[in-house]
Symmetry: C2
Subunit: 246 residues, 2 copies
């Protein structure tokens, strides 16, 4: 199976060589040039052909193995995985997900104000109880229908937020644009029946099943940057997660 797999390298580019290789292999898989189950040339041959060292090739392949596109087996070789692996787990927001799905999302900001931190939220965000934090409440629509009620709490000094900005872009996008580098998120996903006010906001019956998600996001340094408690209309939304075991 010696698919010749053309790879162009640009040594003057600031993009690392291993990443250039990885992207072009991934692209070949997406395009179908590399079919599931087909074997890649061995690392030494690849390195030789591209004029790179074996560690660089290994780094490229390792990157794709971590993303779940390739499988390595010692003594055998490297293969493209069978089966359609969806895109890997990412730190995305509901807004991003909806946009990717082609449904133009809309947001109504219900609350955006500083407020003293309740004890539990204060502990999660790592601030003193009673300290001022930003409280944010939004209603998210997709295709004109209400979809989710979203509560968020953020450290006050983090980033300047405006209602206008939050109605045009997702919270994550705003944070990222402001230079916040989110790295770890802890999510607890559950379900419960809608209360009367929730039902009213979401155009559901009282008692309708809601999907709930409580999430805390940490940055680079492990500092909490956002804590959110959201409810989704189960009839209109579900969450997708892909797990990859290393």
């Amino acid at each position: 199976m010696s698919t010749k797999l053309e790879i162009d390298l640009d040594r003057s580019s600031p993009v690392p060589l291993y990443f250039q290789v990885a992207e072009q292999i991934a692209e070949a898989i997406r395009r179908g040039d590399l079919t599931p189950g087909s074997r890649l040339d061995n690392e030494i041959l690849l390195a030789d052909r591209l004029g790179l060292s074996r560690p660089t090739i290994r780094q490229a392949i390792q990157y794709l193995v971590d993303k779940g596109l390739l499988v390595r087996k010692r003594g055998v070789g490297t293969q493209v995985v069978h089966g359609q692996v969806k895109r890997s787990v990412e730190l995305t927001s509901l807004y991003d997900d909806l946009r990717r799905a082609g449904q133009e999302p809309a947001t109504r900001v219900l609350t955006l104000e500083p407020a003293p931190a309740e004890e539990d939220v204060a502990q999660i965000l790592g601030v003193a109880p009673g300290a001022e934090i930003l409280r944010l409440e939004r209603l998210r629509y997709a295709s004109g229908e209400p979809l989710a009620i979203m509560h968020n709490w953020l450290p006050l000094a983090l980033v300047p937020l405006t209602a206008e900005g939050l109605e045009e872009r997702g919270l994550y996008e705003v944070l990222r644009a402001a230079g916040v580098r989110m790295r770890v998120a802890n999510q607890r996903i559950g379900a419960r029946a809608a209360t009367v006010p929730e039902a009213k906001l979401l155009a559901e019956r009282r008692g309708a099943p809601l999907l709930t998600m409580v999430r805390t996001t940490y940055d680079d340094q492990g500092r909490a940057v956002e804590h959110g408690s959201h409810v989704y209309r189960a009839s209109h939304y579900s969450l997708e997660v892909t797990l990859i075991e290393r």
Copy 2:
């Protein structure tokens, strides 16, 4: 912050050196010898002190960065993350989760029989429509209370399953013990109201909110090894997921 951080290496052990280093650093973090925010010695110094090369040290650190325990910054150094990062995402089953939480789980096998594959399941598992596959239906209890109804479909030739085996161990444990190496899982999580038969089995009211999960698990090669459709009592269970962005 020159925490001395003793690390013993056993060069005669078959355990890779980078892994020995990684485990002992992780252990030091767990023990509290390395406090959140503290900086590790730089890679070159570490390599020197342990008599290892820098790539080996880097591999050890990279392993822990991927697990979310450490953070690297160019020009700055490597730090232990602030904040309690729960254990990383893993391919675990409900059974494993319950056992870890100290609740002795119990299982009642309702159905365990070969059956012709419906079209949708056949496509997911990659077999011909109408081919024989194994259909499995279980009721899972925790602390004596019913918790979940679990439907699974598996390729017939995969592994011999017995009702006795499945009442003593989780499905994942049985599969793993039989040499199946699961690597990727795709989960869709949602919620809906309980139907009457579901409510009866789970000791809930009709219409009670249920957490639903549809999952397909793939092995090493990307072949589907299991497809499941489960419902959980939302009042008694929630899912936890940790995302790490690389």
